[in-house]
Symmetry: C2
Subunit: 198 residues, 2 copies
């Protein structure tokens, strides 16, 4: 969270001074490890969403930008960014997270890469993913400011199909949101069959 948020605010402070200079950017360190290490919302996404909250022109636009970024994060092979001088100079495999949640995103990458969730290459992966997310967030904000913003991402057919029964104005209307459904609701049964059959 701090990585994405501070990368933008500190640069603005260097160029423009206040009010960016006195923003307590260090507060955003709370988002690390999916919020205080809880493994929930990816901190890079939380930081980008905070930037949208600060700079988007309306609450509706904030929501649109968050949706665009979250779908991008769920569906794209990441991390794409390769630093010129990496902190850890290893090849970092790409994976599709199929989730905005830290612990799911990390597990998908661990499965793809063969690395452990607390390994140094995993840290390097998250650093590069943070750079990707900051870049995409700023692209969204800049194209918006120049009047050229168009949503590029869409919910998958699966999420739309699930939503047609479960979300707003549907028959059951028993939940809400736009998160990928399958990564929790369809792919877990095989992992612990003795527990899940109950």
């Amino acid at each position: 969270m701090y990585g994405v948020f501070a990368s933008v605010i500190v640069q603005l402070a260097e160029q423009h001074g206040e009010p960016y200079q006195s923003f307590p950017v260090d507060m955003m360190r709370y988002g690390a490890g999916g919020t205080g290490g809880s493994g929930s919302l990816c901190g890079a996404l939380n930081g980008a969403a905070a930037l949208f909250g600060l700079f988007a022109q309306s609450e509706e636009q904030t929501k649109q930008f968050i949706s665009e970024l979250f779908l991008w994060y769920e569906q794209k092979e990441l991390p794409a960014f390769v630093p010129r001088k990496p902190i850890l100079d290893v090849e970092v495999p790409l994976s599709v997270s199929d989730s905005v949640l830290c612990h799911v995103s990390v597990t998908r990458w661990a499965e793809t890469s063969g690395y452990k969730a607390f390994s140094k290459p995993r840290k390097e992966r998250c650093r590069r993913l943070t750079a990707d997310t900051a870049k995409r967030a700023v692209e969204i904000l800049n194209t918006s400011l120049s009047g050229k913003y168009e949503a590029q991402m869409d919910m998958t057919g699966e999420v739309k199909a699930c939503g047609s029964c479960h979300t707003k104005d549907s028959e059951m209307s028993n939940t809400r949101g736009t998160m990928s459904c399958g990564s929790c609701h369809f792919s877990l049964a095989k992992d612990h069959p003795t527990v899940q059959s109950g």
Copy 2:
């Protein structure tokens, strides 16, 4: 998110002026509906975690406070708060969310109460839950400032058992976090057996 964060910062601004007065609290509206309507991290928790990020004495303390609050939210029957003059004057049933995620928390409450996820009583429930969360966050911060803070919550035996194989320093070490496992990993198989048997 805005509800919890602003309830504290605006009161501090009224009492102390700067630096609270110029904090752009409206940015925190991005956390509504589990971050921009995505249904991920509950906005009340995100707002409280941001307060911890701002006021806790260290990153380690921020993490401890977030853990305490998130476990409280997962395990307690909520909302407990009943306003003297509610916006919507209905009886609001209590439920245990077993998750820090907005859409799961809402679904648990919808199951318990019989109300829809986009109903007015559900909005009232989230308003009261926001008040509960703000209160608990401030209690944590205040007891900490007076040197009397002690963690009251603990991870469930289930989460510890899962973590012993899957998180840091374990055999598989293929994920991270402290979120309740069962609400996604053990209770979904029965809902869509035709999809999940694949």
